[in-house]
C-alpha cells in the first residue's frame, strides 16, 4: 500500500522487472522482460507461438514448466511485505498465492478441467485450498455466487455436471469462475478464447471485462489475436522471440505502431471490411504478387451465367444416429470460383467438405462434378474424378507423415496414378513446390524440420501436384499464427488466379471472407442459412444468425 501513497498514478499490483528464463540446457528464452499490471486494467501480452508469452504469464504465478529455470529478474506483488519477490519465495509460500491472490485461466478448458471431477467440486477445491470463507456452507454459497457471476446456471444439478457435459464456452466460463472464486487481485488469462467461435468468444470477453472492472482485478491477457486485444485491453506488450519490442496503451500500439514487427503483425490481421490487404506485408510474403479477389468475382459472375455449374451439390444429408449432421445441403460452384463455407464448430462444415471430397461416403443426396454424378466414396470414384478434387487438411502438424521427406509425401498422388517414372514425378513435385513458393531445397527435408507455415505449403503442394480443378481447404489456417495465415491466404489467392481452379474454403473465421472468397455460404446446424456473393452477405445479411455473427466479430 505504501507504493500507492508515493505514486498515485502508477499503482502496479504486480510488476515484472528484467525477467529472464532459460531452458535447463542453458538457452535463454525470455530476455529481460518487464511489465506492470494495474488494478482494474487489462494488459495484453501479444506475440506469436514460441515468443515466450505463456512462459512469462506462468512466471507471474511462480510456475515454470518442466525444463525451464528462472535465471534473473523479479516479480513483485504490491503490499505483500518488503521481500515481495514471488520468485524468491519457497514453494509452499508461492502455492498460497496461486489461485488465491494470483489466478490463472488456461487456454484449453477441455484439457485443463479435471474430466473426472464435478465442476462444482473443482471450484470448491480452490476455495478449500485457499481457506476462503470460514465454513463449507459459506464456500458452497461462494461457488453458486461465482457461477452466477460468469453467467452460468448455479443450481445443484448444474454443479454436479462433469466437464464433458458442458459446451466449450461453458467450460471456459467454469475456468474463469474458478479463477475469480477467491477474489484474486491478479488474473493471468492464457488465450482463453482461442478455439471458441465468435459468438461465444464475445460472451467470454464480456464476462472477463466486467468481472475485472467490478472487482478491480489486474488482468494479464495472453493472446495472438489483435482484434481481441483491441476489444479488451487497456495496455499492450508486444513480444518477439522472448523480447519485449513494443509496449504502451492499446490505442497507440494498434494505431501508431512504432516497431516494424508490430506493424507486420497488424498488417496480417484479416479484417471484415477487406480494407487491409493481408499478405502484402513485406517480410511475411515478400516476393508474392497481390491478387484482388473482387475483379475476379465480377468476371466470374458473367462466366457463371455462360458456363454450366462446375460443382453441384444437391440435397446432401447425413446423420449419425439421431444426430442430423447435414440437413439437405444444396449449392453450386462455378469454374474458377472461390466459395467460403462459414460455420461454427458442430455446424457440419467439415463433414460437408469431406462428403464433397468423398472421404465420407454415407451421405444421401448428390454431388455432381461437371455434370457427372459422383459416387459416394473415393473408392467408388474413378481415378480421374479423384484427381480433380483435392483436399487440404486443417493441421499441417498431423497431415504430413513425419517419417517421409516432403518429396515422398508430395509425390504420393502421382504414384497412385502410376503413369509416371521417378524422374518425371520428381520434376512435377518440384513444379508444385515452386507453385507454393518452396524451393528445391525442401525436397528431401522432413516435416519435423519445417515451420507450421512451410508444412501447410507442402500440404497444399501435395494437393496441387495433380492439377486439381477443385481444392477443398478445411480450416487450413486455424492452426497457424496470424502472419503465417496471411501468407497462406495470399498463396491460395495467387494459386487460384494462376490455375483457375475452384476452391471451397471452409472456416469459422468470418474476418477472412473478403480476403479469400467471391461467394460465401453460412452453415448452421447442418443447413445453409444464407448464401450469396461475399459483399452481399456481409453488407446486407438477411438471416438472423449471420447478423449475430457479424455483430460479434471483434474488429479494430
Amino acid at each position: 500500500m505504501s507504493t500507492s501513497l508515493q505514486d498515485p498514478i502508477r499503482t502496479a499490483v504486480l510488476s515484472a522487472t528484467g525477467l529472464r528464463i532459460a531452458t535447463t540446457a542453458g538457452k535463454e528464452i525470455l530476455h529481460d522482460v518487464s511489465f506492470e499490471l494495474q488494478p482494474g486494467k487489462i494488459l495484453a501480452l501479444v506475440g506469436e507461438s514460441g515468443s515466450g508469452k505463456t512462459t512469462a504469464g506462468l512466471a507471474c504465478l511462480g510456475h515454470f514448466r518442466a525444463g525451464l529455470t528462472h535465471t534473473g529478474g523479479e516479480i513483485r506483488m504490491a503490499g505483500s511485505g518488503p521481500s515481495s519477490n514471488i520468485l524468491d519465495l519457497p514453494e509452499p509460500e508461492r502455492r498460497k498465492l496461486r489461485g488465491g491472490v494470483i489466478s490463472y485461466v488456461p487456454q484449453d478448458p477441455a484439457l485443463s478441467l479435471n474430466p473426472a471431477m464435478r465442476i462444482g467440486d473443482q471450484i470448491m477445491e480452490v476455495l478449500q485450498v485457499q481457506g476462503h470463507g470460514s465454513s463449507d456452507a459459506e464456500r458452497r454459497a461462494r461457488v453458486a455466487e461465482v457461477l452466477a457471476e460468469v453467467g452460468l446456471k448455479n443450481d445443484d444439478a448444474y454443479q454436479r455436471r462433469y466437464p464433458h457435459q458442458l459446451s466449450g464456452g461453458q467450460q471456459q466460463r467454469v475456468g474463469i469462475a474458478m479463477a475469480f472464486a477467491c477474489r484474486p487481485s491478479v488474473i493471468v488469462l492464457d488465450e482463453p478464447t482461442t478455439g471458441l467461435d465468435v459468438t461465444t468468444q464475445a460472451l467470454v470477453l464480456q464476462t472477463i471485462d466486467q468481472l475485472a472492472e467490478l472487482h478491480n482485478v489486474a488482468g494479464l491477457y495472453i493472446t495472438h489475436d489483435l482484434a481481441v486485444v483491441a476489444k479488451i485491453a487497456d495496455e499492450v506488450v508486444v513480444m518477439l522471440s522472448g523480447e519485449v519490442v513494443e509496449q504502451g496503451p492499446t490505442e497507440r500500439v494498434l494505431y501508431q505502431p512504432q516497431h516494424d514487427y508490430t506493424r507486420k503483425l497488424l498488417d496480417s490481421v484479416p479484417d471484415l471490411a477487406g480494407k487491409r490487404r493481408v499478405g502484402r506485408t513485406s517480410v511475411i510474403t515478400g516476393e508474392q504478387p497481390v491478387v484482388d479477389p473482387r475483379p475476379a468475382a465480377a468476371e466470374d459472375r458473367t462466366r457463371r451465367e455462360a458456363s454450366a455449374n462446375f460443382l453441384e451439390v444437391s440435397g446432401l444429408r447425413l446423420a449419425y444416429g439421431s444426430n442430423q449432421i447435414l440437413d439437405g445441403i444444396s449449392f453450386t460452384l462455378a469454374p474458377g470460383e472461390s466459395m467460403m463455407l462459414l460455420g461454427e464448430s458442430g455446424s457440419g462444415k467439415t463433414t460437408l467438405s469431406r462428403c464433397v471430397a468423398g472421404l465420407n461416403d454415407d451421405y444421401s443426396g448428390e454431388v455432381r462434378l461437371s455434370g457427372d454424378t459422383l459416387s459416394a466414396g473415393t473408392r467408388a470414384r474413378t481415378a480421374e474424378q479423384r484427381q480433380r478434387i483435392q483436399y487440404v487438411f486443417q493441421s499441417p502438424f498431423s497431415s504430413l507423415n513425419p517419417r517421409r521427406t516432403i518429396c515422398e509425401s508430395v509425390e504420393v498422388p502421382l504414384q497412385m496414378s502410376g503413369k509416371m517414372g521417378r524422374k518425371e514425378r520428381r520434376r512435377r513435385v518440384l513444379e508444385a513446390l515452386d507453385q507454393v513458393r518452396l524451393g528445391s531445397s525442401y525436397l528431401d527435408r522432413r516435416p519435423g524440420d519445417l515451420s507450421g507455415g512451410e508444412r501447410q505449403r507442402a500440404a497444399i503442394a501435395r494437393a496441387l501436384v495433380n492439377a486439381p480443378s477443385l481444392l477443398v481447404c478445411d480450416e487450413v489456417t486455424s492452426a497457424l499464427d496470424v502472419s503465417v495465415q496471411a501468407s497462406i491466404i495470399d498463396l491460395l489467392r495467387a494459386l487460384q488466379h494462376e490455375t483457375k481452379m475452384s476452391m471451397l474454403f471452409v472456416t469459422h473465421n468470418i474476418a477472412l471472407a473478403r480476403h479469400i472468397s467471391q461467394r460465401m455460404a453460412i452453415l448452421q446446424h447442418g443447413q445453409i442459412v444464407e448464401s450469396g456473393s461475399t459483399d452481399e452477405v456481409l453488407e446486407h445479411p438477411r438471416h438472423e444468425y449471420t447478423r449475430e455473427l457479424l455483430a460479434n466479430v471483434p474488429t479494430f
Binding site: Y104, P106, L111, L113, P115, V126, Q130, Q165
Partner: protein, 318 residues
C-alpha cells in the same frame, strides 16, 4: 452406470458359454475312452459297456454337453475318471489352496506395483526411478521358474536354509496352517507380476502428470500431495487396472509352473496330474474355472475404468 456393467456381465456369460463349448468339444476330440481309462486294459467288454451306460457315454453329444453344463451350475462337476471320486471333492481343497496363493500374491503385488510405479514417475530421471525401472525390467525378462529356482537356491538350499522349498502339508489339512511354506511360492508370483504393474503405472502416471488438469491443479495452489492423489492417480488407474487384470488372470493359469516347482497342492498341480491321467472331467472343470477367473478379473478392470471415467457413465454435452 449399471446398464453398462450389466451389458458387460451379459457378454461375459456369453463368452463363458462359448468357452464351455470349446472345452467340451476339445476334450471329446482327445484320444482314449474314459471308461477304458477307469477300468484299465484288462476290463471285459461287458463291464466297459456297463460303465459307458452308467456314465451316459452313449447319449448324443449335445445331450451330454447339456447334462455336463447343467451339472456345472448346480456344483455337480461329475466323477473323476482317475480316482472314481466326485470332482468337486477332489478339487475343493485345491481351489482353496490356489486361491490363497493368488489372493496373497495379488494383495502384495498390486499396492507395491502402484506405489513403486507412482514413485518412479514422480522421481523421473533420478536414481530411484532408474533403480525401480531397471530392476523391474530385469525381473520382467526372467521366466517364473528361473525366479522360483533362484529363490529356492537363495533361501532354502545353498545360501540360507531358512525357508522350506516344498509344500508338505499332510493331506486333508489346509495349506494356510503352514504359513512358512507359503512364502516362497507367493514371493515368486509377486516378483513375476509386480514389474509389469510398476512399468505400466509409471508410464500412465507420467502421461497424466503432463496433462493440462494436473498443471491447472498446481496453478490453483493445490498442495502437491492432493494433486497426485486427487487429480493424477484416478486417471492413471484405469489403464493399469487392465494390466492388473491380465496379470491376475495369468496367475490363475500360470500358477501351474509355480505350483509344480514348489509341489504346492493347488489347481495347477491338479491340472498337470489330470492331463497325465486322462482325467477328462477334471480337465474340463479346471479349464472352465480358469476361463471364469479371466472373465471376472477383466470385468472388474472394466468397472474400475467406468468408475474413474465419468464420460462412460453419463451423457454428453447438453
Amino acid at each position: 452406470m449399471m446398464p453398462i456393467i450389466l451389458r458387460r456381465l451379459a457378454t461375459s456369460v456369453l463368452i463363458l458359454l462359448a468357452v464351455s463349448v470349446l472345452v467340451f468339444v476339445a476334450t471329446l476330440l482327445l484320444p482314449g475312452d474314459p471308461a477304458q481309462a477307469i477300468l484299465g486294459q484288462q476290463a471285459t467288454p461287458e463291464r466297459l459297456a456297463a460303465l459307458r451306460e452308467q456314465m451316459n457315454l452313449n447319449d448324443p453329444v449335445w445331450q451330454r454337453y447339456l447334462t455336463w453344463l447343467g451339472g456345472l451350475f448346480i456344483g455337480d462337476f461329475g466323477v473323476s475318471a482317475a480316482s472314481g471320486g466326485a470332482v468337486s471333492a477332489l478339487l475343493g481343497e485345491r481351489i482353496g489352496a490356489s486361491l490363497v496363493l493368488l489372493v496373497a500374491a495379488g494383495a502384495i503385488s498390486i499396492p507395491v506395483g502402484l506405489l513403486l510405479g507412482t514413485y518412479s514417475a514422480l522421481r523421473r530421471g533420478r536414481a530411484g526411478d532408474h533403480i525401480a525401472t531397471g530392476t523391474s525390467l530385469v525381473l520382467a525378462a526372467l521366466p517364473e521358474f528361473v525366479i522360483g529356482i533362484a529363490l529356492v537356491t537363495l533361501f532354502s538350499t545353498t545360501v540360507f536354509t531358512i525357508l522350506p522349498s516344498v509344500t508338505m502339508a499332510p493331506p486333508g489339512e489346509p495349506v494356510w496352517n503352514y504359513p512358512q511354506q507359503l512364502i516362497l511360492p507367493t514371493l515368486t508370483l509377486v516378483l513375476v507380476v509386480t514389474p509389469y504393474i510398476i512399468r505400466m503405472m509409471r508410464a500412465t502416471m507420467l502421461e497424466v502428470l503432463e496433462s493440462g488438469y494436473v498443471e491447472m491443479a498446481r496453478l490453483k495452489g493445490v498442495p502437491e500431495r492432493q494433486v497426485i492423489l486427487k487429480h493424477a492417480l484416478p486417471h492413471a488407474l484405469s489403464p493399469v487396472a487392465q494390466v492388473v487384470a491380465i496379470q491376475l488372470a495369468w496367475m490363475a493359469g500360470g500358477v501351474v509352473v509355480v505350483e509344480f516347482l514348489f509341489r504346492y497342492p493347488g489347481i495347477g498341480q491338479a491340472l498337470v496330474d489330470a492331463v497325465t491321467n486322462r482325467d477328462v472331467q477334471v480337465v474340463q472343470v479346471l479349464a472352465i474355472l480358469i476361463a471364469a477367473v479371466y472373465i471376472v478379473v477383466n470385468l472388474l478392470a472394466d468397472v474400475v475404468g467406468i468408475l474413474t471415467n465419468p464420460k462412460l457413465r453419463t451423457g454428453g454435452a447438453r
